[in-house]
Symmetry: C3
Subunit: 630 residues, 3 copies
């Protein structure tokens, strides 16, 4: 059994040493257990190449540990110092426009640059050797927010050469690559691997197989970069290794990175994410302006719990307004508590608020902390204190097994970004629409990678899964829903022989697809519409539901269902409710903004809505959290 | 007399040789006469520099011809193989941002690159020598879709040097160029031709005379590139030479390219074009989502019939959903037939559906064919078969002479793109608005280049014609309408002495012009408004119609009329109707979406609308076609 | 006492010499006093490097002066000739994308390029030596419209090196710079000044201190560039030195440039500015389409009168439609007169219409003049003639002292552009909203730089003033309003110790700020809302007004007020009206579109609205001007 704990993110190098002790004292007093440090401090750890200054870090660790705090130490590789560029002038990533992404902020490196990778190994080894066996360092974080600021993909020379090697390894011969990609199509055949360029700045659309290969490669480079650090740290420490993922950053395969780590943590900024990356209507954005989308945090908790193979942290939790979204409102009073409890209810072991004290200088001056820049308490401090008291009374961070499994596949993200076929099609949007509907029905959900074993789940959903893994349908013991667009591609991004979806036992073929603009929805006979994406199906499978024009909309063969379009929200809920009932799952209809989550012992209720709601025998105010014993 | 025939586009290099024969058999069975091949096959015809492999093409031609199909052979110059870039690293076009437009799709060449031009001559000669006298090759296509993907204009070094030469030839001295362009304006004088740059990346707006010269030059480069191939093929074959133009690609002068060819063909994608390039309201786009705009195809048929000096083909006809528009719906059942008949009614000799079989790989996987990727028939195959039967009963492809001539001038496209004066002004939009109104009045239209002889037409229209050719008004024997913005420029892009429009006999001068945002229309006394573009006229010419503020809106001197603004659709129809009646032409008011076209023997009716309509004694359903004998 | 005079802008080099005399005659006849020449003529003054041709200019000056016209001679440095680039290939500015901004229009130089600066000194000295003591040259203009076309900021190598020097001078050591900017934040420390790059093309947001320093530097470069010319001219002439500023160009500190000049002039294009740079609602833009915004000209008159330390000209006045805005309507009849009188009422000594004759060639062909291209009078000529008659009867250009002072600070423009915190926050928009409300209350306003002495004013407003100068509040003798966002930053772009606003005697701290999207306004208890920007205040200061949720909205300590958000227009008017009354100022409520301005002797009324309005005992039609004696 794991305890629920709180923490915060602290930058001793930002503050006068004389206030460290008072800070540590107040952290402990606030009920915090963890403090993360070091991840942006390279310029102070190594102010000149090879000149190491770890003394201040030693002292900071000492002060923090003296107050009983457990330390998460970050490798500082997300912020190489300025001198690194003099050593490795070509270490920068290049954007799709062909321009280097320069020094002056952070994450200014290309994952494929071997020289920088060597530097990262070196600093990681130095830190590991010094602190790996130091009990005060109770966890390690690698780098910081891989992929943030669109940094997964680089069009540098280093990336091009590495991609050529990757292609050589995957395809073995240019001829095999030409066949796999169908390069004959427009005389795009290659004679040698070193002719292969990156898929940017072409005259028109590149071959989607080429683009998808580059996306796979780019993800693999993140895996290798992270692994270079974990391989070193594994030998030097027994503390858990963690990375802090971001929200809705989908450019690399988190399951693959996570396989080398012990815990998946993520940085949860509900208000910022609502504004700049959540697939939500304008009405939803207005309603949840100061609460965040009711399902976005839950989705990521479920996703990253899978990435962490059961171990989930929130490494950075928004405590107040942030600085980086198009607009930056303050959370409703209570949200800093609600978000923490939502995380714990989903199995999080630790929630660290970012950051301890708001910085008065540099990029994040308007990013709230638990303290204000003048060291007075910010509103979230009292909420954190309340959570600390509450978890002391209910420390158990166990996770209940869900009945519903939703498959999430990074390669499908890339496939459909490469080839959306209609400008509104988004794999994440589709999966999130399913998730949202399920959660609105009161269900708990496990998110699975496509290669996980789905047996045991009563309901398994795999919308938009570009390639259905061999044998997946055999493993499913419950009811399953595929489609729309599931099984639409071979792993090499072609249309499969025999046409999609190619599900065993389901006599159905997608004759053609249509993408529709807003307002041109295709009505369903039982109400609601297909929007954005519609498939024309032929075959002899049982038709459970049709479009108003009589065309098949929902098909069944045994436990296997196939949905031939993207339903609007109401139709999605109706279809999933019916499917749940068919699968023997009971559903509820939660009021708008109310959400729940069960642990083995409790059912938690969260009111994201702007009005009070009656639940669990009480009136739950906006931003309210409550729980019932199961 | 020419027969009406059908065809398709086929890529033997995409498919196993063993299915070629079955494919050819099914083509013939479907009633197809023509098959186009070869235009993207350079990497298979010449896999290494100088290593030619024509055997497979010989065999493909043999198989197709054995089934009675007539072959159109394309020169493969739109898709140079990857090795070409090793030979000519500087052959790429550059975009306006100064970046090379790289390998990985198609059309990756600069029209001004002499090295690549030499390669194109070489491969054309090789093909011509091998197949020029081969009777199975019944037509030739040069390159593919000049100008598609914005490829007419290149800002490469090769283009810059060629532009300097072009300027030297046109102006003979830098001083003459300075005078012609008015370079004194901002000290922009040149001392030598090699100082002249391309008109991109300047601090603010370039001299419009400079920009227009560059547009003329860019068009001339396409003409020369195409002529390099036709000059070779003329000596080697007697088969007709054709190019397949695109829809609403206006960056080069199709009349000039067409002068070196025998037939003008074009690639007709009604649904894609509706979405991404048709000047239509949102309501029109919603109404015609699955039909295409009722006038866009007709406009291009009329335009390219003029480009082909009477000989018109559709080289690629959309058969189902395409892959490249922002959204890609399926045509209404019947449209693949309707579009073919619309083409035939406008004088097309041949309509080839693109493509025979939908490709499962590479860029156009979601582009429908006559067959699906699994070789089953796609919906359009049966419609093609129906058309084949129908044209067998009515083979005559003759074109009736129209009473109405509409002048279309590519140089005016460029002039008004260079200097729109208001962001909504579009020459194509203006001409299309006139065309649409005329067609809604039940009229047939001939489109003419500005240097054609308009005598004999009862009504001649020249809206927005930047420079009115010397003597044009004398040649007009019928009623004529100029304006708005006709005669507004000298050929060197200046305001003419004496002010526009400068029409002989018409005492009217444009004192100044106004461009208006949406919602700030200027009302007309007789109803409707001028929108976007309004001219203030002075002079003593007869005023037929005024604005509500009393200013002249429509002027007349004898048979010559001048329209001093851009009317909204209703006012345009009213004004043109009156003008038709003055010209002795009778008009009708066609229901929305119904269109007609006459041949010497028949009147055809097309229902593009979403509802049935009564016409020719019958109820014509949506997507319906019918005809009456004249 | 200074006279009110009119003038125009003339380009003798654009026209045949034989018409100069007739032009000059007609100018004098139209009642014009001034004629500006020469500012774009470098290529004709020095057609080859070192080959000077001043004869034509001598003759032009002679002809103009012979007709009694006073000449403003411009230095031609805004349009370096083409040969200048052969001498100084690296003289171009670079845009934020890293691309040189090339030859072919104007303003193609980097302010930091020392070679070009030397050339500018040379041509200025040559002109000064030849014409400095020539009485016919009654004023000088330096360059033309600094900053126009976004030309203040350059990312060239020259700019980078100069910025490094600027940093070295300001901070003396890299360590001091690191501390000032807070570079420790993300390991952004520099070891030497030559490591400092320009703040473009970074991975994510740069350090705002870095960005603000670059903005200050960029402004300083304009000051130095201009000073290079004034230092030379001061020795050679006693005529006043002037620059013609633009409207809403805020990238350099006009007060700093103005300190080296004698008169501030500006180029007033009310219709163009309404379209492309005025913070106005769509409804305002529609209502004032042909009049311009009723407050934008007045704002700039007041601003530039301060920049000119009391001496104000309009160097270019729009006379008819222009060519460069998104849409270009014609002014309502009467506006060319109204705009001139608005300028005179605000203290302008001279209003020059741009330009004398509309050019038939090059970039500004659709830009109206006082004459048409065919030399016939354009509508504005008669209006100018009317103004000339009117000012002959009322020549006094004195300015009344206003009771209200509004502080405008260029550094605050840059600070909030660098770090808006919400995408809709605009310092200019905020200050303009205050100005608009004050003027709608019938008040006259003086605009002050932040370092001016505000004593004597009954009301002083400093909204959004990023850094409140030491001692400013002590100098204020009247009522003062700060906020929102005033005092929010140290000069190095950090949050001040003790939190904003830090106003002496006002016990209030901004605990945090929120930025809100449209539609998420925060209601005020007394009506209206805060929009875009809301601050949460703590402290013990008197609360004059609260938000509906009870939070402080308007605070007071003695004469000092602080506004904790951005009110909507109605609430802004209400709050300012109350403040005026508290300050002993009486207010009116002017009808929409009616504006007034007092001189020591008269009150002027201007009807910008689309309907007649009763004022001063008469019905003032749209575009009407009238005045009462005080």
């Amino acid at each position: 059994m794991t305890d629920r704990t709180l923490g915060t993110c602290y930058y001793p190098e930002h503050w006068p040493e004389k206030i460290w002790s008072e800070d540590a004292h107040r952290m402990a007093e606030a009920g915090l257990t963890w403090v993360r440090i070091g991840e942006f401090a390279w310029s102070r750890l190594e102010p000149e190449p090879g000149k190491l200054e770890f003394d201040w870090l030693d002292r900071a660790i000492g002060v923090l540990a003296d107050h009983g705090l457990k330390i998460i130490l970050g490798t500082p590789t997300a912020t190489p110092p300025r001198w690194m560029l003099d050593k490795h002038p070509d270490m920068l990533a290049f954007d799709a426009e062909g321009r280097p992404r320069g020094f002056g902020s952070r994450r200014h490196y290309c994952f494929s640059h071997q020289g920088y990778l060597t530097e990262c190994r070196r600093i990681t080894r130095l830190l590991g050797e010094r602190y790996g066996r130091d009990d005060r360092i109770a966890a390690w974080q690698t780098d910081n927010e891989y992929g943030c600021h669109d940094t997964t993909i680089s069009y540098s020379d280093a990336a091009r050469r590495a991609f050529q090697d990757w292609c050589a390894q995957r395809y073995q011969s240019p001829q095999a690559l030409n066949r796999a990609w169908g390069n004959v199509f427009w005389s795009m055949d290659y004679d040698s691997f070193d002719q292969i360029g990156l898929p940017n700045l072409t005259v028109t659309e590149v071959n989607p197989a080429h683009a998808l290969a580059f996306r796979r490669f780019s993800s693999d480079q993140v895996v290798l970069f992270n692994r270079a650090q974990t391989e070193i740290l594994r030998d030097l420490t027994d503390a858990p290794l963690i990375h802090n993922y971001m929200g809705v950053v989908l450019d690399f395969d988190h399951f693959h990175v996570g396989a080398d780590l012990d815990v998946a943590s993520w940085d949860s900024y509900p208000l910022g994410f609502l504004m700049d990356r959540t697939p939500a209507s304008d009405a939803e954005k207005a309603m949840f302006l100061r609460q965040g989308h009711p399902d976005l945090q839950a989705f990521h908790h479920d996703l990253y719990r899978a990435v962490g193979r059961g171990r989930l942290w929130v490494m950075e939790q928004q405590p107040g307004p942030v600085n980086w979204a198009p607009h930056n409102p303050a959370p409703l009073p209570g949200m800093a508590r609600l978000w923490a409890w939502e995380a714990f209810a989903h199995g999080a072991e630790t929630v660290c608020y970012f950051r301890w004290r708001q910085a008065p200088m540099a990029q994040e001056q308007y990013h709230a902390g638990l303290l204000r820049p003048d060291s007075a308490p910010a509103p979230a401090l009292a909420e954190a204190r309340q959570v600390a008291d509450e978890i002391a009374a209910m420390p158990d961070a166990e996770t209940a097994a869900a009945d519903v499994a939703l498959i999430f596949d990074y390669a499908s993200v890339w496939a459909w970004e490469v080839q959306p076929q209609g400008q509104d099609f988004s794999y994440f949007g589709l999966v999130f629409a399913v998730y949202k509907a399920l959660r609105g029905l009161g269900l708990d959900i496990d998110i699975l990678p496509p290669d996980a074993d789905p047996s045991g789940y009563k309901l398994v959903l795999a919308p938009g899964l570009a390639t259905v893994p061999e044998g997946l349908t055999d493993q499913i013991t419950g009811t399953a829903l595929f489609g729309p667009r599931s099984g639409a591609k071979t792993p090499e991004m072609s249309i499969p022989d025999g046409l999609p979806p190619g599900l065993p036992g389901l006599d159905a073929r997608v004759a053609y697809v249509e993408t529709l603009p807003q307002g041109a929805d295709r009505p369903l006979a039982r109400g609601g519409t297909f929007r954005t994406w519609v498939e024309e199906i032929e075959g002899d499978t049982e038709v459970l539901e049709t479009r108003s024009d009589g065309a098949p909309a929902l098909l069944r063969a045994g436990n296997l269902h196939y949905l031939a379009g993207w339903p609007d929200d109401a139709a999605m809920t109706r279809i999933l409710r019916d499917l749940c009932h068919a699968a023997g799952l009971s559903t509820e209809t939660l009021p708008e903004g109310l959400r729940s989550r069960r642990t083995p012992t409790h059912r938690f209720w969260f009111n994201y809505g702007p009005a009070p709601v009656e639940v669990a025998g009480q009136t739950l105010p906006p931003a309210g959290v409550t729980w019932e014993t199961l």
